[in-house]
């Protein structure tokens, strides 16, 4: 953003980062701003960045909660690297986020919070304000606390509730700055607090107070506007990755004409899927909050045996706990969708941060030869598509499928053109009908090598399955050495044949050349943006992104082999690169890795690509 003297300046795109104490309501503030912008027709991507502690010690850097939104009039695929506007509600928030503020950008602070005590809590030896060059930033020192208190003087509200509404003051200021109307937020407040009218009134007063304050003060630069994006016609809504995942499962259940069952145990950042599906009793969804991760997957396996579309949701440590039962689903060849919302690991690691480090666990983290299908979603909204696809493959191929999403996709949101459900395919599970003669539980039905699914309650198809190795065809227990080898290869080949039904990999850019950038899963937005910007700058670069990890698309090798340099970019130490090396031993891969619990920035990706291209 540049300083201009006009009253309203048109901008292509803007990044705003709201930050404050984890009790300051920054997530809500950010969501409200995003919703308003989306309703005005901007394209956008959001990224909440919050601590694991619900209420970390007040005023400390560890307790800073942030919410970044990137909106624009053109396509937006990332939450943005650096913020044009940084809202910092206290010294800790400023300290933690200055590095994310763009040079020349605007910083709005609540000057009232810059007390000696708060500076000390934030661990500031010097006033962080004095360390910011005034020429570098447009700093607005707003007495937010004082003015919030002042504006609510007439209301009979306790001190705590008064302070709780100061986030609305900041939001009001930002709304003025970007020419946004207040009505959507006002409506939201009316709905949200309809049982406590005084809270509705207080929040509305403070929101307006912030708006008028921004208009009044001369220190503020002329306001900006971002025109609506030129996006495909259709009906839109905002959606985050976890909600999209939950809804994709419901869509699959409808298309399969099978009830949906979720067995799950709460874990960050996957719990929201359980929350959303728990609400969906209206669509007949059965959610079972189990006593632990193991019971989560085991109840799902039971429901699958009983003929449901069965799902379990978790994050890294939970996936570890589910591994033994996953093996049971592999050997019993029951359909099961396992959703792993990845976070930073190992162990408790960084529970609220994003990472792609569970890839090898998903592929190989089981005892025995235990093949299954692994997919990865690449944006908040396409979690819908891949949850649907995971369910379809699980049901039609009688196999567990692990869908990898991550904390960035799960919590990030974007406007989404609501899909036409008529265009989604029917899902046909191989359910064996009553009256089928000579049912053999492990008879392979067709080229896909799928076995028939005989559901309890169906007359004449009573049979036994279990964790012991089975005899081919009959499924009875077998310790025959050669049979174990036959069955091991059958299970592997069955998964390999899923490659017959998945789409080919698509290359963006030239089909051959100097450098191919390779990504998978949740990094798509950043990689795509880096690709798009570099292409615009005339850089010779191509890009492929993988959503189907096991099996890989059939044309993967054909595509990769046409490039001189292959650069695999991922948020781990190189798990996908190593997987590709194992699969394609004739090719040589370079890596670009980041393990900070944060997404890539577009800037660092572009720099890396340029440097790889310059290498001789």
């Amino acid at each position: 953003m540049t300083n201009k003297k006009d009253t309203v300046t048109e901008l292509e795109e803007v990044v705003i980062r709201f930050s404050g104490d984890s009790g300051d309501g920054m997530q809500l503030t950010g969501s409200l701003f995003s919703d308003t912008s989306a309703l005005l027709g901007n394209d956008l991507v959001t990224f909440p960045d919050y601590p694991a502690e619900i209420r970390a010690p007040q005023g400390t850097v560890g307790g800073v909660s942030g919410f970044q939104v990137h909106f624009g009039r053109a396509q937006v695929n990332t939450p943005g690297d650096y913020a044009d506007v940084l809202v910092a509600m206290n010294p800790a928030a400023l300290k933690a986020n200055t590095k994310w503020a763009k040079q020349g950008g605007t910083i709005i602070i609540d000057i009232d919070s810059f007390t000696e005590k708060n500076l000390e809590r934030a661990g500031c030896t010097k006033d962080p304000l004095s360390q910011l060059g005034f020429n570098d930033f447009n700093i607005i020192k707003a007495p937010i606390t004082t003015l919030t208190r002042e504006s609510l003087k007439g209301l009979n509200l306790d001190a705590k509730s008064i302070l709780r509404s100061k986030n609305m003051f900041a939001l009001g200021m930002v709304y003025w700055l970007f020419h946004r109307p207040l009505e959507f937020t006002q409506k939201f407040l009316e709905d949200k607090f309809k049982k406590i009218p005084i809270v509705v009134e207080a929040n509305k007063i403070v929101l307006k107070a912030g708006y008028y304050y921004a208009e009044t003060i001369e220190a503020l630069h002329p306001s900006y506007s971002v025109a609506p994006a030129k996006i495909e016609a259709g009906t839109y809504r905002n959606i985050n990755g976890n909600t999209a995942t939950a809804w994709g499962l419901i869509a699959a259940s409808e298309k399969a004409k099978l009830p949906l069952f979720l067995g799950s145990y709460p874990i960050t950042p996957a719990s929201e899927i359980l929350h959303e599906l728990s609400k969906r009793r209206d669509l007949g969804v059965k959610t079972f909050q189990a006593e632990d991760e193991i019971a989560g997957i085991c109840t799902a396996i039971g429901a699958s045996f009983a003929g449901h579309l069965a799902v379990t949701t978790t994050s890294g440590p939970g996936l570890s706990l589910k591994t033994e039962a996953t093996g049971l689903a592999v050997i019993t060849e029951l359909p099961l969708v396992i959703i792993n919302v990845q976070r930073g690991g190992p162990s408790t690691g960084l529970p609220t941060k994003t990472e792609q480090s569970d890839l090898l666990q998903a592929l190989y983290g089981r005892h025995g030869e235990s093949p299954l299908v692994v997919l990865a979603a690449s944006s908040p909204s396409d979690c819908f598509k891949y949850a649907f696809e995971a369910s379809k493959i699980a049901l039609e191929h009688m196999t567990p499928v692990i869908l990898l999403t991550d904390g960035f996709l799960a919590n990030g949101s974007e406007p989404w053109r609501i899909p036409d459900m008529d265009k989604f395919p029917a899902i046909k599970a191989p359910i064996v009908k009553e009256g089928t003669e000579d049912y053999q539980p492990y008879q392979r039905l067709d080229k896909s090598m799928v076995r028939g699914w005989a559901v309890p309650g169906t007359k004449g198809l009573e049979h036994r399955i279990g964790g012991l190795e089975k005899m081919a065809i009959t499924g009875s227990v077998s310790y025959v050495p050669e049979n174990h080898e036959v069955m091991t290869y059958e299970r592997e080949e069955k998964i390999n044949r899923v490659a017959d039904v998945i789409p080919d990999l698509e290359v963006l850019g030239d089909k051959d050349g100097e450098l191919l950038m390779i990504g998978w899963g949740g990094t798509y937005g950043h990689l795509y943006t880096a690709y798009r910007e570099l292409k615009k700058e005339g850089v010779n670069l191509s890009f492929v992104h993988f959503n189907y990890i096991k099996p890989l698309p059939k044309n993967a090798h054909d595509i990769l082999k046409r490039f001189k340099k292959l650069l695999v970019c991922e948020l781990n130490t190189g798990q996908f690169a190593n997987y590709l090396r194992m699969k394609f031993q004739d090719l040589s891969f370079q890596q670009y890795n980041k393990i900070q619990g944060l997404p890539f920035t577009v800037i660092e990706l572009k720099e890396k690509i340029i440097s790889v291209l310059e290498e001789k």
């Binding site: 919703d35 839109y236 209206d282 009983a306 012991l468």
Partner: protein, 337 residues
């Protein structure tokens, strides 16, 4: 559930060769299950038998019903998933003392707390048989086993206490060699709506032989067992001359006819009483001071999980405008471009 009265115990036997040791108590329990299922008269396809790992968990292979031999300790959650998905099925769990109270301990307490309508048969032989003779959570204190060559130093679990502690509504106990009593109890367990826990004291002929010998001994068994039946006075003994009375906060065995005590002074069994105190005292009666209580010790009516879930779904469905995924996609804040 459709009922077909024509089935016999034989119809429930699978074609698999039974591979338990000769003399193992499991054979008799299998026979009791076959009999109970025939007697209940449900169609074969409506039974599901689920097990974990252990000697007892081989059970599903010998059943000609739908059955699932799963993984160690997890039969309860798998069965919970089956029953929750399809409440029309009659779902049975066969487990052992290690399977349900060691590795599956967490699931054991939670399935009882939820009160899902399952029949859980706990074959308690106080030893790990399949892994060849290590002590289990129910092994007696001081018991010599492969992993306790100098005697165990851990006090054992008593299943009845755990069941009651976990708010269990149905607890019964039988002994492997009494096929008739086991069958009778299994029928009661199936009729009870909610989690029915049936402990079967079971002899491991190889690793813990005659651990219940004091109870099965022909000469003394009538003095050492009492079969409790709802509404009947607690009288037992070879000559039916002993009774159980409540003495303050404790139970006491008395001799009828002595000190002017008559049948009227003896406790009458009330399995339906929600307050579990007496059930706990009865379940904990132990040799040599007391007879071991067999029969249905506790059977209390309560809501079941799967019924409440279906009820809630029906209520929410009736009140919600969202009937399809399309309705959901178009709900809330949407806008047209």
């Amino acid at each position: 559930m459709s009922e077909t009265k024509t089935l016999t115990p034989k119809d429930f036997k699978s074609d698999q060769e039974v591979r338990w040791c000769a003399g193992c108590g499991d054979h008799a329990v299998l026979s009791s299950v076959h009999r109970a299922m025939a007697e209940l008269g449900y169609a074969k396809e409506n039974y599901v038998v689920i097990s974990g790992i252990g000697c007892s968990s081989r059970f599903p292979y010998y059943m000609n019903t739908y059955a699932f031999h799963s993984i160690h300790g997890r039969a309860a959650p798998i069965a919970s998933g089956v029953k929750t998905a399809n409440p029309e099925l009659s779902v049975w769990v066969v487990t052992g003392d290690g399977d349900s109270m060691a590795i599956g301990g967490n699931h054991f307490i939670h399935v009882l707390r939820r009160n899902i309508d399952l029949n859980i048969i706990l074959l308690n032989n106080q030893i790990y048989g399949l892994t060849k003779g290590q002590y289990s959570p129910t092994s007696k204190l001081g018991q010599i086993t492969k992993t306790s060559p100098y005697g165990t130093i851990e006090p054992p679990f008593h299943p009845c206490e755990l069941v009651i502690g976990a708010q269990g509504k149905f607890f019964a106990r039988s002994i492997d060699n009494n096929v008739k009593l086991t069958t009778e109890i299994l029928l009661e367990a199936e009729k009870h709506k909610g989690t029915s826990l049936v402990e079967v004291l079971q002899n491991c002929v190889i690793y813990n032989d005659k651990t219940f010998g004091y109870l099965t001994d022909r000469e003394h068994k009538k003095d050492r067992q009492i079969v409790l039946r709802h509404g009947e006075p607690m009288i037992f003994g070879k000559d039916m001359d002993k009774g159980i009375v409540l003495d303050g906060l404790k139970l006491k065995v008395v001799k009828l006819g002595e000190d002017g005590l008559t049948e009227k002074d003896v406790l009458v069994h009330d399995a339906f009483e929600p307050n579990p105190i007496i059930h706990l005292l009865l379940g904990n009666m132990n040799y040599p001071n007391f007879p071991i209580a067999l029969g249905v010790i506790r059977s209390v009516k309560a809501d079941t999980y799967e019924v409440n879930l279906d009820k809630q779904i029906a209520e929410v469905k009736a009140a919600s405008p969202i009937k399809t995924i399309n309705d959901l996609l178009l709900s809330g804040n949407i806008w047209k471009v």
